[in-house]
């Protein structure tokens, strides 16, 4: 249960407490999934990896219905293993691994590898998405929202 109020058990209900903020937040989040040309699968894997790093159940339980991940892939994301994933996803996951607690350790070669796969626009999309996934996990953990998947579009990938 969220410490804010007894009624604020979901991420959506918390956002709704700031009516002026919620539409902009949702619009920005949607843009991260659309603008830059990245495959949704890349973003979804990174989002889940960051959720696993933070041990954020409220974010981990949210799933993009457009991306099907095998149980082996989910387990790999949970434990930080890159084996099941193709080179492009591994390059993205390497950056995702750094973002929450090792952003200063991110190396030029790692960003270059991402640019080789995704181009400048895709890498911009990816880096900003990683930062936002990280911030979302922190906010969900701090606010104590329940790990309850919400209707599509209101709590997860649009």
């Amino acid at each position: 249960m969220s410490w804010i109020t007894a009624q604020d058990t979901s991420w959506s209900s918390l956002l709704a407490r700031h009516p002026a903020l919620a539409p902009g937040y949702q619009a920005f989040y949607r843009s991260l999934w659309r603008d830059g040309g990245l495959d949704r699968r890349v973003l979804e894997c990174c989002r889940l990896r960051i959720a696993a790093i933070h041990d954020c159940d409220a974010e981990w339980r949210v799933r993009d219905p457009a991306v099907i991940l095998s149980s082996a892939e989910q387990a790999a994301l949970r434990h930080g293993e890159c084996g099941p994933f193709p080179p492009a996803q591994r390059a993205a996951l390497q950056l995702a691994e750094r973002m929450p607690f090792d952003h200063h350790g991110m190396e030029d070669a790692e960003v270059t590898a991402a640019r080789e796969h995704f181009g400048a626009a895709g890498t911009v999309q990816l880096l900003l998405a990683l930062a936002f996934f990280d911030a979302t996990c922190r906010m969900k953990l701090v606010s104590g929202v329940a790990p309850i998947p919400a209707p599509s579009g209101s709590n997860g990938p649009p």
Binding site: L21, F28, S31, R34, G36, V124
Partner: protein, 65 residues
Amino acid sequence: MSTRPRLPSAVPGEPESLGSVLAHTPEVLAGFFELYGTFWQLGAVDPALKEMTRLRNARITDCGY
């Protein structure tokens, strides 16, 4: 951490900055600055307090930018 920009400016003639790099993704750019503007202009938290928390976060994350 790199001391050189890792991504180019998307705006010809402009050096690398948050805005010129985000310009590679126009929809993201527009959404980001609209959301950022909302954070600062609206709400119950005093702007001075927001600024203090912004600077404190920059210090904690060691972000000189």
